[in-house]
């Protein structure tokens, strides 16, 4: 159990680092909580999501179906963690 949590925490830190590096640096005023929507806060736009999906596919070797590119799977750090955990 403890091991799973550690893996989850590592994944979360990794994804947050990526989002910060790729998107958040353009928005120094935004404080992004793990549950906050990227779209709602305006930190990732349509092309940003394309980038995000590609990164997730490449980094974790997940094949993402077009229909899976939704807010539930890619809309926040929490969503990304859950999606990657489920699919990798």
């Amino acid at each position: 159990m403890e091991g799973t949590e550690r893996v989850e925490a590592g994944l979360r830190a990794e994804l947050r680092a990526y989002v910060e590096e790729a998107f958040l640096y353009l928005h120094p005023d935004v404080e992004l909580g793990d549950g906050d929507g990227f779209l709602e806060l305006g930190i990732v736009d349509s092309l940003g999501f394309v980038e995000l999906v590609e990164e997730i596919q490449g980094r974790y070797g997940i094949a993402v179906d077009a229909l899976e590119i939704t807010e539930e799977n890619f809309g926040s750090i929490d969503a990304l963690v859950a999606f990657v955990e489920r699919r990798r």
Binding site: L26, H27, G42, D45, S46, I69, E71, N73
Partner: protein, 506 residues
């Protein structure tokens, strides 16, 4: 009755229970949209806003934005739609330029409106759209008439200052009617709009649906292809307007898998040409939908359309003038050139703007004397040629405006922001062909000696001063920029360099 206000009144009188809008969880009938617009208009009137006043609308796509637009018009005012990613300084500039008396916004954007208001003394009121729309009915002013100013739509100007395109009710109602006719739109159409209402392409989806009494499905933006497919299917969408970037993302995401969308009748594309591969992919993925290639500019909304059956015959053409208008490739005197020759495209019709707000010089450059003393012809600033059958082909631009993601960006506006960043000696911004964006905005920056600049910090600086779509996709640091013999930055040399294949790997 050729006013936008009359369009809504007619739709509400003809089919009050018909669905007008679907926006997220919200659904509104024409009677509800009409009543909400009246409430907002009554509130504006009570605040002293009247005929010809300018009301800025700072809202994301949604029911509130639609209500605010028709509410401002019903109050007799002209509306100025603003991109919700606009930053305070530019917002203040636009508010000052059009001397807006009110800003209609929401809770999330109210602080931005408040910050800009401090620098825009004309603004007397900042209104919450939802609150105003839920207010009581009240006395309304006389309805606007067709020659009244309906909107000032800001577009990037080559000087780097945005220019306000002034449009009357007659201009906009005519353009909406013409487009509805060639698209063969119907009252039972359900249009999915993912482009912002601040962009005239998005705005007209609303105007056309209301004119017809059709249904508009309004999304905040195009972010999730999965969401768009879900809406296309669940909302039984019949028409999808988009720009090449969106179509490309959508078709790449879908691969060669065609979703089952029996209701989808047509797709429209504008802002930039579709790549042949995207046309092919769209046909494979949406086999039941007609594809319309179109060309236009805010100054007259739309210039031309390619009948879908011509797409295979002349895939590169943007077609023929829209119904009820003329457009021709002209020589320096404005006279038509023979087929095959390149010249500026001129446009004549009831859709042509009244001029740029507060800018007689720019107006004189674009609105030229016509056949009659009262007539003015629009010079598009774009170079075209026509084939022997009169179909139009885009050749290039007269100015250096960049088209990225379908939106116009003035290099000078981005350069001005970069020049204001600490440590920047000089900067040059240009558009570089990009398969996804049309053109990618690329900035070349020369730092002052010893300045510790990074591309990331410069992009961040841009992001805090410019709308999202204007932020350079790439910033490159240089020791020098190539110059022409008379000492100006040599943009052509930079462009050649940018388009050259990438250097060999390290």
């Amino acid at each position: 009755m050729t006013t936008l206000d009359a369009d809504l009144r007619r739709a509400a009188a003809t089919a009050p229970g018909k669905q007008a809008l679907v926006a997220g969880e919200r659904r509104m009938t024409y009677a509800e949209l009409d009543a909400a617009a009246s409430a907002l208009a009554a509130r504006l009137r009570a605040l002293g806003v009247g005929r010809g006043d300018r009301v800025a609308i700072l809202l994301p796509n949604g029911a509130d934005a639609a209500i605010a637009i028709y509410g401002a018009l019903r109050a007799g005012a002209a509306f100025t739609p603003l991109n919700p990613t606009i930053k305070a300084d530019k917002l203040a500039y636009v508010l000052r330029d059009c001397e807006a008396v009110a800003v209609v916004t929401d809770a999330a954007l109210a602080p931005l409106a408040g910050a800009a208001r401090a620098q825009a003394p004309s603004v007397r009121h900042v209104l919450d759209a939802a609150e105003a729309a839920a207010g009581p009915a009240g006395p309304l002013p006389p309805a606007p008439i067709s020659v009244d100013l309906a909107a000032i739509v800001y577009t990037s100007g080559s000087t780097g200052r945005p220019k306000g395109v002034t449009l009357t009710h007659a201009n906009m109602a005519f353009a909406a009617g013409s487009i509805v006719s060639y698209l063969e739109m119907r009252t039972d159409d359900r249009i999915l709009c993912v482009v912002p209402l601040s962009f005239d392409y998005g705005l007209y989806q609303l105007l056309m649906c209301v004119r017809l009494g059709a249904t508009l499905i309004l999304e905040r933006g195009f972010a999730f292809p999965g969401r768009v497919l879900e809406l296309l299917r669940d909302e039984r969408v019949t028409g999808l307007p988009a720009v090449p970037t969106i179509f490309q993302v959508l078709t790449v995401a879908l691969g060669d898998r065609a979703p089952d969308l029996p209701c989808l009748r047509f797709l429209t594309n504008t802002a930039a040409a579709l790549a042949p591969a995207t046309i092919e992919a769209l046909r494979a993925v949406f086999p039941g939908a007609r594809l319309h290639s179109m060309y236009g500019l805010t100054e007259c909304k739309r210039v031309s359309w390619l009948p879908p059956e011509q797409l295979d015959v002349r895939p590169e053409s943007v077609g023929i003038p829209i119904p009820g208008t003329q457009a021709w490739v002209a020589d320096a005197d404005g006279d038509p050139l023979p087929a095959g020759e390149v010249g500026e495209l001129l446009v004549r019709g009831a859709h042509v703007m009244q001029g740029y707000w507060n800018d007689p010089e720019a107006t004189a450059d674009r609105l030229r004397p016509g056949r009659w003393p009262w007539e003015r012809v629009l010079a598009t600033g774009d170079l075209f040629r026509a084939d022997a059958e009169g179909y139009l082909y885009f050749v290039g631009r007269r100015d250096d405006i960049i088209k990225s993601r379908g939106e116009k960006v003035a290099p000078r506006e981005v350069e001005a922001v970069l020049h204001a960043a600490e440590g920047v000696r000089t900067a040059a911004v240009l558009g570089v062909p990009d398969p996804l964006l049309g053109e990618a905005i690329v900035a070349y920056v020369v730092p002052h000696e010893g300045a510790a600049l990074t591309p990331a910090a410069l992009r961040r600086h841009c992001a805090t001063h410019l709308e999202d779509y204007m932020v350079p996709a790439r910033v490159e640091l240089r020791d020098t920029l190539p110059t022409t013999p008379n000492g100006k930055v040599d943009r052509r040399a930079l462009a050649r360099e940018a388009e050259a294949p990438a250097a060999a790997p390290r």
